[in-house]
């Protein structure tokens, strides 16, 4: 069990939290700016205080430069899509209610919900509720952003916990008129079980680094997974309208199990819209708690990426050779090299994860084709 804690280098009144164990995963931040992370082993509260003092000294030159800016989240609508997970939704909305500054509105999309719990919880937090009876995350996202009234729409999942500066950071980033698509940092909300730690350490989690970056078509290619993940992405409303929203054949709730975010980000780049990765836009994600859940997640990821590649190949002219290259690279590095190295190092779980992903990838193309047929028949 590893505690996840924040150390804020700017907050003079920072107190060490009570620790459950001896290990702590620490997020270092200076106010709303995220600096980095580190793992501490065998720490006591007093050591944490000393550690923070040392970091403040080390960073003194950098910290001095941070000018105090007023943040504004009033242009941001947060869309939360959920399906019968009232516990998760409650946590998610609690985090949103603690935003400083707050966002313009919160829209909860009840996707094929079987009872009224979602509605009840959402209303208790004062969120707008929209219903989407057909299962499918991308359908829900489309419903959500079309109901939004403000300029910027941010999508988070119900198992995500937004940081308190989330809306402010997004508002600042979208303050630049040319920026239309932003992804952010996703860190673990808890590291209580081995499966969660394994997802973070072995798989690398959902993080894309602590450096701000701009992605263009020329330097990404097909690998849109490098840009960000769907649990923390935001677009201008007009961009989503122009691109026709998310592709309903993708993502959770359909047979493709995911890739709605990959597809959306890829189409942004194709449309010559650069995607900005901003680590200050922070969301914490509750990873699957048990091994079965973790392996299912890996299998779904495999299916999703294979479906994504299959769709580029069948629907986008001139992409065939790039897709073939990318498939080759993907299978070689993830499903050949990785199992072999896992075998050599004796990492049984990693081997299982790689094989799950491989087994999922075999269904990707079929899943995509069947979803295409289904959407055409509708």
């Amino acid at each position: 069990m590893i505690d996840t804690i924040d150390i804020d280098l700017l907050d003079e009144g920072w107190r060490p939290p009570s620790l459950r164990g001896e290990k702590a995963w620490v997020l270092l931040r200076a106010g709303r700016h995220i600096l980095g992370e580190e793992t501490l082993i065998g720490v006591s509260p007093q050591e944490l205080v000393d550690h923070r003092a040392r970091l403040v000294r080390l960073y003194s030159t950098k910290l001095g430069n941070e000018q105090q800016e007023t943040l504004d989240g009033s242009a941001v609508t947060i869309v939360v899509c959920t399906r019968d997970r009232p516990k998760f939704l409650e946590g998610c909305l609690t985090a949103i209610s603690r935003l400083q500054p707050t966002c313009a509105e919160v829209i909860v999309v009840d996707n094929a919900g079987s009872d009224g719990s979602t509605l009840r919880i959402a209303e208790s937090f004062g969120a707008t509720v929209v219903r989407e009876p057909t299962p499918g995350l991308d359908r829900a996202r489309n419903k959500g952003f079309r109901a939004a009234s403000s300029d910027v729409v941010a999508f988070v999942d119900d198992d995500a916990r937004v940081d308190k500066h989330f809306a402010g950071a997004l508002g600042t980033t979208f303050g630049h008129a040319d920026i239309q698509a932003v992804t952010g940092l996703v860190l673990p909300a808890e590291l209580d079980t081995y499966a969660q730690l394994a997802f973070e350490v072995i798989e690398g989690g959902m993080r894309k680094g602590f450096r701000c970056r701009v992605f263009e078509r020329a330097n990404v290619g097909l690998q849109t997974f490098r840009l960000g993940v769907g649990t923390n992405m935001a677009f201008r409303r007009e961009l989503l309208d122009r691109l026709g929203g998310f592709d309903p054949r993708f993502d959770v709730g359909t047979q493709t199990k995911g890739a709605g975010d990959l597809d959306m980000l890829w189409r942004c780049l194709q449309d010559e819209v650069p995607v900005v990765y901003e680590p200050d836009v922070l969301v914490r994600h509750i990873h699957r708690r048990d091994r079965r859940g973790l392996l299912n997640q890996m299998r779904d990821n495999g299916t999703a990426y294979a479906a994504f590649l299959a769709s580029r190949r069948t629907e986008w002219p001139g992409m065939a050779s790039s897709v073939r290259r990318e498939q080759l690279r993907w299978h070689w590095s993830r499903h050949v090299l990785r199992p072999v190295s896992a075998l050599v190092t004796g990492q049984f779980l990693e081997l299982q994860m790689a094989l799950s992903e491989l087994s999922g990838s075999r269904q990707g193309k079929a899943a995509f084709l069947s979803e295409t047929l289904r959407s055409e028949s509708r």
């Binding site: 600096l35 550690h51 080390l58 950098k62 701009v214 990404v220």
Partner: protein
């Protein structure tokens, strides 16, 4: 070139120019300079797709990075991650600046030579920039056209000298400029270049080193806003790195001279350039060869074993070609120039490595170009690569054609005798002269050099010093060639000759000193001659005026012979005398008995020399320091030391030095860390194995010495000077360590000695000296043990003084402190790396 371009796939854009048939054509960049010390805000992109950001810390360029820039202006936050890597370098640059103190150039005057042809507009900008330099310069414009009146007008407007050279050829024009120039340093730049105000000053400052004959600077593109300029910058950038570098034939193959710099920003010692006959007139622009003249001149400098320095702080901005034809022609010309200059090296200088180098260079470029375009890397520009390849192939023919055309124009300059650094001895009139009242004895130990000792004695008798105050004592260290008789016959009673058995120069000096009743003893070696007639007076002045008890005189060495070993030894000696000139407080390893004066009371008090075959001078110096005797430099007391050496002799010297150092440590264990043998604890495992062999089997290294000479001959004739030099240093090291082994009685004895030395040296850590920024470089001699280094009030840590090297050098020490200690002290990376 440092271009961190994050590109997985090339950008697909319409073909903009037939030349740029690769997929990145049509790219434009926007070049911008950022001073990290000042900070920066959002950066304007000028509508270009990428930003070429050059990072500076103050005036020091740190590097550059190409950043995709879809937004205009590009927010600072997206630029910062790319510049994070420079933060560390900026920090180091600041520290360097603080530690370096004032590196003001010596007052040198310089002539700037600008060669131009039919480009008055561009020449005007060039001249305006040169005239705006922060030091006064003579400017000469050589018009290589047919006397365009506008060129003359522009020249006169800038107050420069106009000379017309009608025979076409850039090198011809440069040589004309060289003839017109009067200053000791000549700076060359092109008419399509604009220099920064500090350009000339910074280039000149590098000439403080007497071994340096050429200095090159950083050449940045003036603008990269057109696709053609981008293609030029990608394919043939002039940037040769962001760190100052020193090249000589032992570190860079002479045939890689192109890596040292280019003619757009180039400075030469005029006398050196004249001595090799100036630039090669059949090369460079205006001739069929197209380029290569600057590279050939640098090649000559490197091949002769002199140094070429690269100073990136001296910045010039080059306007790249703006149209596609000019670009292809320039690239093809570079290809031709490389083959042509290498062919000239092979034909005229008999460089046997040249044909191989052409092949290696050409094939390397070709393979890289093919590979780049195969994997679709941006900037591959196959057409340009083809043009360059064609140029390489036709280079030989171009050289022949160029020579044929020039047969009616004899070269302006013809090669003269080999250049030597100008004697750095002071003007005789400015030599300090004391009261000339002290009784002075000159003691000359001599062994088997009948002729040179006679010449020295004759010169000493001509010194301007009262004859009754001057004794000359020649102390023979075993008379093998009848020196005694010859000296007595020639000089009779005017000198005294002391005879004794062979026991080393130190003991001979003691015998000579025992015969004298003078207040001051001057020790001269028997192979030196005084540089002028006031040498003895200058020594006396150092004692009388400065109150020194020991004064070290200048020893300017002339090494005859041009083989690799001689060149390496020559450079070592030149550095050594340069060091003495700039020294504030000498330490024991600066004491060199070739030219030294000692107060005779102090000499006798500490017991004179000991009987070591070598390093008796360091040993004496150490005892002097330990006894608190004041050591200084005798200004103006210069002698010239002519020596002729070969590898075998040099190896014997190294071996004797090893023995001497081991003997010093035997006597004074605390000197351990300051001697070359103190490196024992920091040797790499591989080196350690070799060193242990040398210690245990001294005879093995002796056997090798004879074979080595032959191997070196082969290597040198194959143009592999750098390998040969590495081999020589290895041999020197082996000889040194076998000497150490001999003296200390094998590895067991040496280990005992080393551990004792180590223990005694470490004792001083208990009492670290608090050195502030200002006092950092004034360690009390002798520099033993460690010091606590502080910077701006912050403790950085303890640094062993041996980082300053042997002989101890404050600059080197500072650089080592920065290099080794800064990384663990400052956060480098955006990713937190907490240092404990």
């Amino acid at each position: 070139m440092r271009l961190a371009v994050d590109t997985a796939e090339p950008r697909r854009v319409q073909r903009a120019h037939p030349v740029l048939d690769d997929e990145s054509s049509g790219d434009t960049w926007h070049s911008i300079e950022v001073d990290l010390r000042v900070g920066f805000g959002d950066l304007p992109t000028g509508g270009a797709g990428s930003l070429l950001v050059t990072a500076f810390s103050g005036a020091t360029p740190l590097g550059r990075v190409l950043i995709p820039a879809p937004f205009d202006p590009m927010p600072r936050r997206f630029v910062e991650p790319y510049l994070e890597g420079f933060a560390m370098k900026a920090r180091l640059a600041d520290l360097h600046e603080a530690f370096r103190g004032s590196d003001l150039p010596e007052p040198q005057s310089a002539t700037v030579v600008i060669c131009t042809k039919d480009r008055p507009q561009s020449l005007r900008l060039c001249l305006e920039a040169v005239v705006a330099s922060d030091i006064p310069l003579d400017v000469v414009v050589i018009d290589n056209g047919d006397g365009d009146s506008r060129v003359r007008e522009e020249t006169e407007r800038a107050g420069a000298l106009y000379v017309n050279e009608r025979v076409p050829g850039l090198d011809r024009a440069r040589n004309r400029g060289l003839l017109v120039a009067t200053a000791p340093i000549v700076l060359f730049t092109d008419d399509d270049v604009e220099v920064a105000p500090s350009w000339a000053r910074l280039l000149l400052a590098q000439f403080a080193d007497p071994n340096t004959v050429a200095v090159t600077g950083l050449v940045l593109p003036a603008s990269v806003s057109s696709p053609i300029a981008v293609a030029f910058e990608r394919h043939a950038t002039f940037v040769r790195g962001w760190e100052g570098r020193v090249f000589d034939g032992t570190r860079l193959k002479a045939l890689s001279a192109g890596d040292a710099g280019a003619g757009a920003s180039l400075a030469f010692r005029r006398n050196y350039l004249t001595s090799i006959g100036g630039f090669a007139e059949e090369l460079d622009a205006g001739r069929p060869t197209g380029s290569g003249g600057d590279t050939y001149a640098l090649y000559r400098a490197l091949r002769d074993g002199w140094r070429v320095r690269y100073e990136p702080r001296a910045i010039a901005y080059h306007k790249h070609r703006e149209n596609a034809d000019a670009l292809t022609e320039a690239i093809r010309g570079y290809g031709r120039g490389v083959t042509a200059y290498m062919a000239k090296a092979a034909l005229d200088d008999g460089d046997r490595g040249a044909p191989l180098a052409v092949l290696r260079w050409g094939a390397g470029r070709g393979i890289r170009a093919i590979a780049r375009s195969a994997i679709g890397r941006p900037g591959a520009a196959p057409t340009l690569a083809r043009q360059e390849a064609a140029g390489i192939l036709e280079g030989l023919l171009a050289l022949a054609r160029s020579r044929h055309q020039l047969r009616e124009h004899p070269p302006l300059l013809s090669p003269g005798s080999a250049w030597e650094p100008e004697p750095t001895t002071d003007n005789v009139l400015s030599v300090p002269v004391g009261h000339r009242t002290s009784q002075v004895a000159v003691v000359i130990p001599s062994h088997g050099r009948r002729d040179s000792v006679q010449a020295l004695v004759a010169a000493l008798l001509d010194q301007e010093y009262p004859a009754h105050k001057l004794e000359i004592i020649v102390s023979l260290d075993g008379d093998v060639d009848g020196s005694a008789l010859a000296l007595k016959a020639k000089f009779g009673e005017r000198i005294r000759v002391v005879e004794g058995d062979r026991g080393g120069a130190g003991l001979a000096r003691n015998r000579g000193a025992a015969q004298s009743r003078s207040e001051i003893l001057i020790f001269l070696d028997d192979d030196v001659v005084p540089a002028h007639s006031h040498v003895i007076a200058a020594h006396e002045a150092a004692h009388a005026n400065l109150g020194l008890e020991v004064a070290i005189g200048g020893l300017h060495t002339r090494v005859t012979g041009s083989d690799l070993t001689s060149r390496m030894i020559r450079n070592w000696w030149n550095d050594h005398s340069r060091r003495l000139e700039t020294l504030d407080s000498p330490t024991f390893s600066d004491v060199s008995t070739g030219n030294l004066s000692i107060n005779s009371a102090a000499f006798h008090r500490i017991g004179g020399f000991v009987g070591l075959p070598r390093r008796e001078d360091w040993e004496l110096g150490y005892r002097l320091l330990v006894n608190g005797v004041k050591i200084g430099v005798a200004v103006g007391a210069d002698v010239i030391h002519k020596t002729d050496t070969n590898l075998a002799e040099a190896l014997v010297d190294r071996r004797l030095e090893g023995r001497g150092d081991a003997a010093i440590v035997g006597r004074f264990p605390e000197a351990y860390a300051l001697l070359p043998l103190g490196q024992w604890h920091t040797l790499t495992a591989r080196r350690l194995r070799a060193v242990r062999t040398a210690i245990n089997r001294p005879e093995a290294s002796e056997r090798w010495a004879s074979k080595l000479t032959r191997i070196l001959g082969w290597l040198e004739s194959a143009g592999l000077t750098d390998r040969a030099a590495a081999l020589v240093s290895l041999a020197f090291q082996a000889a040194y360590w076998s000497g150490v082994g001999e003296e200390s009685g094998g590895e067991a004895g040496w280990l005992a000695l080393a551990s004792e030395g180590r223990r005694r040296t470490l004792c001083d850590i208990g009492s670290p000296l608090e050195l502030t920024e200002a006092a950092l470089f004034r360690p009390p001699p002798p520099p033993i043990g460690e010091v606590m280094v502080t910077f701006r009030g912050h403790e950085i840590g303890a640094a062993p003084l041996r980082w300053g090297g042997i002989p101890w050098d404050r600059q080197r020490f500072a650089e080592e402190v920065i290099r080794r200690m800064a990384p663990s002290t400052f956060v480098v990376d955006g990713r937190l790396r907490a240092t404990s």
